[in-house]
Assembly symmetry: C2
Homo-oligomer: 206 residues x 2
């Protein structure tokens, strides 16, 4: 595509570097920005720069935070003996939205993926192991996605924990609430039968 202006071309290029945004969408977004009041563009640009330069990560769980210790880690009502291991902060937000979990989190920042060149040392795994070594954690809940990379990461952490006094669990896989059995895939349905729970438990969760 040929652009009538270098400024336009440059803005389209920068926007199209974002994931899932091609040149056409970038052009549409940039033309929209041109029609808006100047102050709105300045706010957008400032919010992004401020975020990128001033953001903090919680020293304990690596969740995003404005303070040294995030709101969850510094909340004295949370159960510090249970730690839920998640991939990124979106997972923390999703689990927090359920209001079902009162323990702490540990954000790995990704999954082990040799294909993408992500090894154990690129993730926040050793701080997690150290946390367990210190002895306060009684249970680790693995809540990574059940892909090859997620399973690899779970297994790597599990191996590192050998000989330590900690229980490990993974979140339950099964038929989603409200789903029809006939449309479920075999692996999920199989696991949901093997890992069935007492009927009383299923009533408590509602």
């Amino acid at each position: 595509m040929e652009y009538a202006s270098k400024l336009l071309e440059n803005a389209v290029y920068e926007v199209s570097q974002l994931p899932g945004i091609g040149k056409r969408t970038a052009l549409r977004l940039v033309l929209h920005i041109l029609k808006q009041p100047e102050q709105q563009t300045v706010s957008l640009a400032e919010a992004l720069i401020k975020l990128r330069t001033e953001i903090n990560f919680c020293k304990s769980c690596y969740n995003i935070s404005d303070t040294d210790l995030c709101e969850i880690c510094s909340n004295s009502k949370r159960d510090t003996s249970v730690v839920c291991v998640v991939e990124d902060i979106r997972d923390v937000m999703a689990i927090e939205n359920t209001s079902q979990y009162q323990g702490l989190y540990h954000v790995l920042g990704g999954k082990i993926s040799p294909m993408e060149g992500i090894g154990p040392h690129d993730l926040n795994i050793s701080p997690l192991i150290n946390k367990v070594k210190e002895g306060e954690v009684k249970e680790l809940i693995f809540a990574l996605s059940s892909t090859m990379e997620g399973d690899t990461t779970n297994f790597y952490i599990y191996k590192q924990l050998e000989g330590m006094q900690v229980t490990t669990s993974t979140i339950a896989r099964g038929i989603a609430v409200g789903d029809e059995l006939e449309y479920a895939d075999e692996v999920t349905l199989g696991r949901s039968i093997l890992n069935r729970v007492p009927f009383e438990n299923s009533m408590k969760a509602n």
Copy 2:
């Protein structure tokens, strides 16, 4: 959704103001930005601010331009007696990509749309009428989309031109090249038969 950080919340809010981007997509984009080098965020922010504050519009055709007169208007090889009326600069880019048109453009900046509160005076219509009054333009080609708003805009301009020495035409509507007749809608197919062209012309265009 609850965010762990005000900076994050603010950035997500600003990004979700863009058209077609909801809160979830905004969060995904913002988390991607957090993983990128700081310089990339600065480039993006600077490109947007520079675009919004420094962009020029061509004084003649209202196309985006880095100079007072855009490259097309200042190109002496273009035919200044034909002006193609389009909605926005994306249409200019699309027509330029075909390499079939050697005249000039006039960018209206939108279509008349009472529903959205856009009247003739919000668009660059009077400069177009003035251009025609000056007498150099022999033909106006309406290339707006064939919606209610596009037709209204075409008709409004047409009425304004009454008594002036200028030919008006619209781009041909018909079956797209490569399309099957059986899937075409009736209006399009009907028009393509009424406005059939000599066979020799269709060979020239390829």
